[in-house]
């Protein structure tokens, strides 16, 4: 197992604004960390710095407590799965997986045993003599995983490995990768722009925006107690409602006269028709989206849109009257100037 530590990392390329500004991050050995954020937030750059493809402009990268800034990717010894899979097109599946072992000078017999073992584990043992071009996207993805895992390195880097798969395959592979991490003893550093991957797979999420770490916390914590309005808006689907305090009715005692932005997750807003219950607010239906198990209803309340959920059989027309009631115990407050969450 390998621990990863980044201290004061800055990175700028020859032209343009800095990509990373003062990144401090500690990944304990054996953990599964996801780096998540919108495109251009610097998450892939962090991975390239750890792999050794790029050098930081300032700051230090430590693996197991040793500074590795000057070490080549080979000396750092991480394995990596790429977004495009980057399989070697002229080699068949067997040789693709065997390649890192051959380069390392592992004996033929051991190579064969390890390639066949990992191929069986990933259920690609039937394709060993095929070339990558004869495989489907999902199979290529498994070959790429196999090539990384066959080395049994203690640090695996993933650069959006599932983003080229269709949704059902992505769901399947999410579970597979999580299992592989639990079976082995490697540290996984996983870059994604998909919040579902980050929420479902990782021990800790690192949310990034514009080269700055916004929050590092377990997924459940990031979801329940986002550090600021950016994190609150980025994680969760449908998006969290962020509205002025005047729009929704909040008991005066909860905010104590301060000016706040109210954040409330759509699943904490209950919507219904008919008589307005105690603590409910009246609004007009902007649009209703039946989801099968329930219905997402967007209401217009005092000029702002608030999305909430209703029972599956409540499917109002647009423009109809409806009410919304908040689960007050789960409402979040943010400082409108700093955008930070105000602890309650």
């Amino acid at each position: 197992m390998i621990s990863v530590r980044l201290t004061g990392i800055q990175k700028s390329f020859s032209r343009g604004a800095p990509v990373l500004r003062d990144i401090n991050l500690e990944v304990p050995a054996g953990a599964f960390y996801t780096l998540v954020g919108p495109s251009g937030c610097g998450k892939s750059t962090i991975l390239n710095l750890v792999a050794g493809f790029e050098r930081p402009t300032a700051g230090e990268i430590l693996l197991n407590g040793e500074i590795v800034n000057d070490r080549s990717p080979k000396e750092r010894g991480a394995a990596m799965v790429f977004q495009s899979y980057a399989l070697y097109p002229h080699l068949d599946v067997y040789r693709n997986i065997a390649f890192p072992l051959q380069v390392a000078g592992v004996g033929k017999g051991e190579i064969d045993a390890r390639v066949r073992e990992i191929a069986a584990r990933l259920e690609i043992d039937r394709f060993l003599d095929r070339k990558p071009r004869d495989l489907s996207g999902g199979q290529r993805q498994r070959v790429a995983l196999g090539r990384a895992l066959v080395r049994r390195t203690k640090l695996c880097l993933f650069d959006e490995p599932l983003s080229n798969l269709d949704p059902s395959l992505r769901e399947l592979m999410r579970g597979e990768i999580k299992r592989l991490h639990e079976e082995g003893d490697s540290t996984y550093l996983y870059v994604t722009h998909d919040q579902v991957e980050a929420l479902t797979m990782s021990d800790q999420m690192v949310v990034l925006e514009s080269g700055v770490v916004q929050q590092v916390a377990p997924p459940r914590e990031v979801y329940k107690r986002p550090a600021n309005m950016f994190v609150a808006g980025f994680i969760g689907s449908p998006r969290i409602n962020l509205v002025r305090a005047g729009t929704v009715r909040i008991p005066e005692g909860m905010i104590g006269g301060r000016e706040v932005v109210v954040g409330v997750r759509p699943e904490d807003v209950f919507v219904g028709g008919g008589e307005v219950p105690e603590g409910g607010m009246r609004g007009r239906v902007y649009v209703a989206e039946p989801m099968g198990a329930s219905t997402w209803v967007t209401l217009e309340i005092a000029g702002e849109r608030v999305i909430g959920h209703a029972s599956a059989d409540f499917i109002p027309r647009s423009g109809a009257e409806a009410w919304a009631r908040l689960a007050l115990e789960r409402v979040l407050f943010f400082d409108p100037r700093t955008t930070k969450r105000i602890p309650r």
Binding site: P73, A78, M80, Q83, S84, A86, P89, H90, R147
Partner: protein, 268 residues
């Protein structure tokens, strides 16, 4: 009807491109007295071929050309491929400057540099020597190789190179085991172009050789003419013979090009 039209159009194009060559083949087979007639010859003879190959040191010239063109191609391809890989995939300072210089060097007209080259080759004692042709030929072939191959190496995704590096390769191992096989179509294309341009080169060969010892095919054919008449039949026979190695080389490297096309396409 449509097919007939297409076939006709293809026939016209083929005839237009191959016409002069076919005419040359025909000329090489005409008997001596029939050379300048435009009719289809009444009889064919291999006399011109016999006299080119026995009456002149032409076989020697073909061998010279083959050695010079092969040596130039191999040298330029080796250094060209390593340089092009470095320019395309490694972080080097001033690589666009270097590429610009390579392009510039390959654009110099031969006439402009032939005299200094002559002096340099003479100073090295390589005049009328095959090595004295390979070196000057490399001066134009190498920049051309660098320029063309850089494009081919650039077309290989960066992630493939990075995958090789992360899999434990040194840059040179990544070059030899991954990048070079993937650049095979580029190597094939470049090899054909280099071989043909060295094979056909006339100016340097004329200036830098003085005897049959090092004379190459284009110069040898150019010097066929005597004081009183041009031996058209022999010239035709010689040029037909001179085409054969080029066709052979093109066929060999064409396989690389095709095999490369089928191994590429790493996505989808």
């Amino acid at each position: 009807m449509k097919r007939l039209g297409l076939a006709l159009a293809v026939a016209v194009v083929v005839l237009f491109c191959a016409g002069p060559f076919l005419w040359q083949v025909l000329t090489s087979l005409r008997p001596e007295g029939d050379l300048t007639s435009l009719d289809f010859p009444r009889s064919l003879t291999l006399e011109s071929y016999r006299s080119v190959l026995t009456g002149r040191p032409f076989a020697r010239s073909v061998l010279n050309s083959f050695i010079v063109a092969s040596a130039t191609t191999v040298t330029s391809l080796f250094f060209g491929a390593t340089a092009a890989f470095a320019l395309a995939k490694l972080e080097l300072r001033g690589r666009s400057f270097f590429l610009g210089m390579a392009l510039l060097a390959s654009m110099f007209p031969g006439v402009a540099v032939v005299s200094p080259l002559y002096l340099a080759v003479r100073a090295l004692g390589l005049r009328d020597h095959l090595l004295g042709l390979v070196l000057p030929y490399t001066t134009f072939a190498l920049p051309m190789a660098v320029w063309i191959l850089t494009g081919f190496f650039r077309a290989i995704p960066d992630e493939i190179y990075r995958a090789a590096i992360i899999d434990g390769c040194s840059p040179f191992q990544a070059f030899r085991r991954i990048m070079l096989p993937l650049a095979a179509p580029g190597l094939g294309t470049t090899a054909i172009l280099l071989f043909i341009s060295s094979w056909n080169e006339f100016l340097y060969a004329l200036a830098l050789t003085s005897s049959a010892r090092a004379r190459t095919v284009p110069v040898a054919i150019g010097l066929f003419g005597g004081d009183h008449k041009e031996p058209w039949g022999e010239i035709a026979a010689a040029s037909v013979i001179a085409m054969l190695p080029v066709i052979l080389v093109a066929l060999i490297f064409q396989r690389w090009i095709v095999s490369g096309i089928t191994t590429s396409a790493e996505k989808r």
